[in-house]
């Protein structure tokens, strides 16, 4: 499964457009991490726990998008976009979406 944020691939032909596919993931850290983050808000600096958390949920959201794309017979997802929204204190939703297509084999 090929994932790309390009609208088309220069060396591959799109045989069939299938449609929009998406994946999302909502995650939060445990209270301890949130408290540490609260402390960091006094000192400033990177919140490594949250960086990891968001990275992991992005990977998961992408996996879900891939699953959906595979289930409708696509072999690639193009024009992939990421979006993030915080829905509650310490929880964030990661949303990934793109166009599922069927690509021809390498020329």
């Amino acid at each position: 499964m090929l994932i790309s944020n390009l609208e088309f691939l220069p060396d591959r032909k799109v045989v069939r457009h299938i449609g929009l596919v998406q994946g999302s993931s909502v995650r939060s850290k445990h209270v301890g991490r949130d408290m540490m983050a609260g402390l960091k808000n006094i000192f400033g600096g990177e919140l490594k726990g949250y960086t990891e958390l968001l990275h992991d949920s992005r990977v998961e959201a992408t996996e879900r998008m891939k699953e959906q794309a595979a289930s409708i017979g696509a072999n690639a997802v193009l024009n992939v976009r990421f979006s993030t929204s915080s829905i509650a204190a310490g929880a964030a939703e990661i949303f990934v979406y793109g166009t599922a297509v069927e690509l021809a084999d390498h020329v």
Binding site: N5, L6, G38, I42, F43, G44, E46, L54, S86, A89
Partner: protein
């Protein structure tokens, strides 16, 4: 009275540690930017064309970072909010976050021997917390990896 003292201490701690953290971070950003200078990352939607573009494969690369504001910055921005104007304490925060995200994206492109990253997009989100905020910046783009057939 006691509350005032606590706030003053927090402000001082935020000012001192925040400044230190910012200086240290900027220094490491500049160092790594120089190291990764040979790997261009551009916002153009199309790959570079020309005779020297051989067979390649492409990979979506990302880099993200969450950075918290310090107590002093948050307090200062609250003051600026009353009078209006440029919120410079947050400008430098966002600048650092963007550059860091870009660097991490470039580093992951470099790790797979990419020569070029294009169609780079930034995305910023506030990670909400009680009282003050932290921001997340994500940079993503398409890395071109030369392929020998």
């Amino acid at each position: 009275m006691f509350n005032l003292v606590v706030i003053c201490i927090l402000l001082l701690v935020g000012l001192v540690f925040g400044k230190m953290a910012e200086k240290k971070h900027l220094k490491s950003i500049i160092k790594r930017e120089n190291q990764l200078n040979a790997l261009p990352a551009i916002a153009s939607r199309y790959p570079p064309s020309g005779d020297n573009v051989g067979p390649y494969r492409q990979l979506l690369v990302t880099g993200n970072v969450v950075i918290a504001s310090d107590y002093f910055k948050t307090f200062l921005s609250g003051l600026i909010n009353i009078f209006g104007g440029r919120v410079t304490p947050f400008e430098s925060l966002l600048d650092r976050a963007r550059r860091e995200a870009m660097l991490r994206m470039k580093a992951s492109a470099d790790a797979v021997n990419a020569e070029f990253v294009f169609n780079v997009k930034y995305q910023t989100a506030t990670i909400q917390q009680k009282g003050s905020g932290a921001i997340e910046v994500l940079a993503y783009g398409t890395a071109l990896i030369p392929e020998r057939r």
